[in-house]
Symmetry: C2
Subunit: 381 residues, 2 copies
């Protein structure tokens, strides 16, 4: 298949790799060729799509989601925005609903969110467990997710459930729960934060996961300063996620590591919290990814273009940087070389925008510009 | 037609008029009945749509747009967001492109934007002239718009074009240009702001328009404090638009008048400016509308759900207030009684959301939740 007459092609190869007046060839689910239109290879027998001067970019790689759950918390959101006290259970509400849901119900809610994300251009999606918080509910959360995405993350250490004390729960997570969950997961994650898990607990859980063959990622420094970022770097995590409250030492540690800083502006948007300073991170040499953090409590969005617009408005990113962070950045945060770029050999995951350039993703905020989505060379939305 | 099994119906009659487990009947393009499902009238022979527990709200009434133009200014936006100097012409770029465009080109760009707005739930749209700035280019801007919406606004006094001095241009606007434009317009508007038109000029132009049968609305107090709000109230304007930099006297004047304060958060979003304080206005008793201000320079969005989410995050509005402001508030800003509500006799303009309540418009930012749009009882998107 040949996509011809592309106004602006973003390849991410190298850097943003923007080509004006470009063409793109898919073959057998992979990118076969990308370059200036005038040099496009002969295309006998191929399907031709005329992009009519519009932009094509890589599919979004959303490296941070909490998509396995039941129920919603709209009333809690409305109360928070109004400054009203809200005495219902927060995350416990979602845990109770998730435990009560059947596997089929969890699967169909997950399908709904993956499809919603796909329609807005997300062709690779990560999801965590973390609303089960029992051995069986964490295991089945991951077992439901695994057939739907290879990027599954065991997050038994999301919060300590009310029926446990913290130490006993940490023992459960790194023992029986990990044993049950590891076969269904690629990653292990801990919410390292005051009120969730401290540095020692985080280290113990991540090391247990590593010993089981999982690769770490860490919820780090979201609500206040803590040891999460340093632990992520020390343990070779693929990503430290949130990274809002950081010292210069934290920034330096990230900059001299392979650990990506994954920024999640949807969470700050929906909790009216301070945004992370992407400019400071990028200027220091940190690799930054943008992800949606879709979850029913603090960021109930799957929409990466929205996150790009917010990152440009609020976090000091250029549109180029934000688009790169939501594609190649996400791929690096998932240690994936096959997605997040449009170069020969990459998976043919691409978005056709109803706009002449990727800048319009921030310039036209809220407007659904994603007009066609290809995944593995097949048009899926 | 009966829309049955509505989870949450927002009627705006009176106030937000929310009804749970509701039904809605359209007949001959108008709302025939709205109320609790159990009391719905017999529906022999009518089409029945099962809302499956989802929410239905009135169509959005977008009372402020600059939709007649050509070209875009994506590079200027990118430069502004990066803090780079940008020496191209700003609004003059759009004026030059608009003057160079044919009526057909202006009409098809306008159709594109109206359709884009419609798909996101906007069933009533206002548009201004203001990128022609010659007698003929202003006239044809309005003549192109008039068959597409009855809410057309003569904004010859957008900026002083470079070929005129200010006084001569004001004379032209309130003389020959007004004569040519008045037959195609319902409203007259002036950009009353330092660098555009001062209080005396604004008054002279609005009074000339009133004498020609147009009703005033005013771009007021956007970039700094000025006389715009007070003039709007004094001259009986339907709306003062932007209303960011206001004194207590301005707020009191609005509160004791029929002039609506139309807030346009897309402009502050895309120029990284301070948001207007909706909370202060509402608490003082001012009627507030929300609109998109779609234009290629400072707010290139048609998306009202995006504006609602920003208003809740940044402007102190509750979701209920923001949804009301984008529907009934917009209708009041256009002095329309037939739109912005779902009560018997109103035009059957309604949106079916892919969500159980209107709260999700802010709770799920960026997610395109508008799943069906009805205008005059007909499904149009």
């Amino acid at each position: 298949m040949l996509i011809d007459n592309i106004g602006t092609l973003v390849t991410n190869d190298p850097e943003l790799g923007t080509i004006k007046d470009a063409a793109l060839v898919f073959d057998d689910g992979l990118v076969a060729w990308a370059g200036p239109r005038a040099q496009a290879p002969e295309a006998a027998g191929t399907t031709r799509l005329d992009a009519e001067g519009r932009a094509v970019i890589p599919g979004f790689v959303d490296s941070h989601g909490h998509l396995v759950f039941a129920g919603d918390r709209a009333e809690e959101f409305a109360a928070r925005m109004e400054g009203r006290p809200y005495t219902a259970g927060g995350i416990r509400t979602t845990v109770a609903a998730t435990r009560a849901a059947s596997d089929d119900q969890l699967g169909s809610n997950l399908d709904r969110l993956i499809h919603e994300a796909l329609k807005s251009g997300t062709t690779t999606v990560e999801t965590k467990s973390g609303y089960g918080l029992t051995v069986d509910d964490e295991r089945r959360s991951l077992a439901v997710a695994r057939p739907r995405t290879q990027e599954t993350t065991f997050l038994g250490a999301h919060v300590v459930p009310p029926e446990h004390d913290a130490d006993a729960y940490v023992d459960l997570v790194k023992g029986e729960m990990l044993d049950a969950c590891a076969p269904h997961a690629r990653w292990i994650d801990v919410f390292c934060e005051q009120g969730a898990f401290d540095g020692d607990q985080t280290r113990a859980i991540l090391e247990a996961g590593i010993a089981k063959g999982l690769t770490p990622r860490v919820h780090a420094n979201q609500l206040g300063h803590g040891p999460g970022v340093q632990l992520a770097v020390e343990l070779g995590a693929a990503s430290a996620d949130h990274v809002t409250h950081v010292t210069d030492d934290d920034v330096d540690a990230l900059a001299s590591s392979d650990t990506v800083a994954t920024l999640l502006p949807g969470a700050e948007f929906s909790t009216r919290a301070r945004y992370p300073d992407a400019r400071r991170l990028i200027d220091a040499g940190v690799t930054v990814a943008l992800a949606a953090d879709c979850n029913p409590g603090s960021s109930y969005t799957t929409n990466i273009p929205f996150c790009i617009a917010i990152a440009v408005r609020e976090m000091g990113m250029t549109t180029d940087e934000a688009v790169w962070a939501a594609t190649k950045g996400g791929a690096l945060a998932l240690r994936r070389e096959d997605v997040g770029l449009l170069a020969p050999g990459a998976r043919a995951d691409a978005i056709l925008l109803d706009a002449p350039s990727h800048i319009h993703l921030a310039y036209r905020p809220g407007v659904p510009l994603v007009t066609a989505v290809f995944r593995g060379g097949r048009r899926v939305a």
